[in-house]
């Protein structure tokens, strides 16, 4: 019961935050609500007992990537953005796309319903049982025993990002 309340709380917060991100005129306000959404998503991970994912979501997305966003937003001239027309006349394109998305979601719900009562999307999400071994330990085992190659490739990806960031950021190298 508590879990369901918390799920709807976090899910509602995430959706509300997402709506506010799009509708806010001020980019820093948008960033603040994006942070809210990301935190609510972290809360959703926690309701699913994914403790490590919860922490990583906060450390990396909220504490890392969003700080970068905020830095960039804080230093651009906001006055220009404030005087621009926020919603232009492409509403019919947006409407069409939204309808397509809605249809897709409804189809997915219908499909999920056809799998039977216990697999309903409307039912509370299936929470994995907590094992004696912690969530982080399980992830570590999977990562270093089954997925070592992707893990090593990730380091090359990070290296590429590092070089790219510095080459673009610095004028003289």
């Amino acid at each position: 019961m508590t879990n369901e309340i918390l799920f709807y709380f976090f899910a509602g917060l995430a959706v509300l935050g997402g709506v506010l991100v799009v509708t806010m005129r001020n980019a820093v306000h948008s960033a603040v609500f994006l942070i809210t959404t990301l935190l609510a998503t972290a809360g959703l991970y926690l309701t699913l007992n994914a403790e490590f994912l919860f922490v990583v979501q906060i450390i990396l997305y909220v504490g890392g990537i969003m700080v970068l966003f905020v830095f960039v937003i804080m230093l651009v001239n906001l006055d220009v953005a404030l005087h621009q027309v926020q919603f232009n006349r492409q509403t019919w394109v947006a409407g069409l796309l939204s309808f397509a998305l809605l249809a897709e979601l409804l189809a997915a719900v219908a499909l999920a319903r056809s799998y039977g009562e216990e697999n309903w999307l409307f039912a509370a999400p299936h929470v994995p049982t907590v094992t004696a071994e912690g969530n982080t330990e399980q992830i570590g085992r999977l990562l270093f025993q089954n997925y070592v190659i992707p893990f090593e490739i990730a380091s090359i990806l990070l290296l590429v990002a590092l070089v790219g960031a510095v080459v673009m950021g610095k004028k003289r190298i």
Binding site: H29, F52, I59, V70, G134
Partner: protein, 402 residues
Amino acid sequence: MGDFLAANALLVIAIVKVVVVVFVLLTAVAYITWFERKVVAHMQGRWGPERVGPHGLLQPLADGAKFLFKEDPTPAGIDRFVYFLAPFLALSLALSTIAVIPLGPGQIELFGHRTWFSVAELNISLLVVFAITALSVYGVALAGWASNSKYPLLGGLRSSAQMLSYELSLTMSVVGIVLLTNTFSLRDIVEAQRGGVGRWFVIPQILGFVCFFISALAETNRVPFDLPEAETELVAGFHTEYASFKFAMFFMAEYAAMVTVSFMVAVLFFGGYFSPFPGTPAWHWTIYLPAAGGVIGGVLLLLHGLRYHTPLGRIVLPVAGLALTGVGVLCALAGVVEYIQGPFWLAAKVATVLFVYVWVRGTLPRFRYDQLMNFGWKFLLPLSLANLVITSLIVALMRPAQ
């Protein structure tokens, strides 16, 4: 009412613990400002707060009242929403870290339920502390931006860049301890240090400790890394445009962060709630040290208070001395003496770390900003990485082959 309590006992216990911890923490924060001013003053050959109450002991109360009743003008051109949000973020995040720190050994009996001696007992409490630390950048960055003022913006930017840079070495320096213990639970880390000074992680992890403590000084914006508040260049840094209670919130946040860092240092490197003496029978008498400390301190305070130069002091100080003696005697009673060990030693360690904090402030000059960033990226980060590599190699070599 009784039924409700019985049905929600765990919730009630949680709320009781939270309220007690928040209250104690806020009082401690208030008195750390007094402690800091006194210690720094004596280091500089001054008296420090002396007028409000005996030895200036009521100074924190006077400061609090002043903060609460001061006029609170909001400068024009600020971003109202973010301007109000920032101090809340700063304060509540700085306070929340304490929730996951183990405050004493084992479980205690509360309303007929056994409960851990901490607000929350998580198996990834170390990571949660880092998550909260990662969030605390926002209080400073947003406060600086919202103020519509040049120096706060510069201060906020500097401060957040500094916090980001030192967060890396802060997290990396702790991985060494995780390698030794294979757990993220702060309680398990403390339990691994059972058995006196020899088992404390500060010995195998001396490099990690140095990295952690320096990074923590920078992370809490303390001297010699208090660049965001460098008053000679930035007026008062990110909180220049804040007045009254909203300023006090940033102030409390800084000291609360100091307290939690001191807790982390004590828990990770200095055996947490364990006594520094080994648990062998030969050292059994050391369990009466808290009681002895209380009685001796109380008697000294009593004698000193009787000769104090103000009438109020001649009343308050002896009474406090008597109370302290009483608490000391109470601590020697069987049944109490076991329970008092954990909190006493943890508090003693935290107080020592706090003293070092203040000592550093009284001693060191401030870094220049480029020196600060170079120090973080070019010295501390490689050093903590080296500590990690060395620790992992040593652990691998010491481990019997499988």
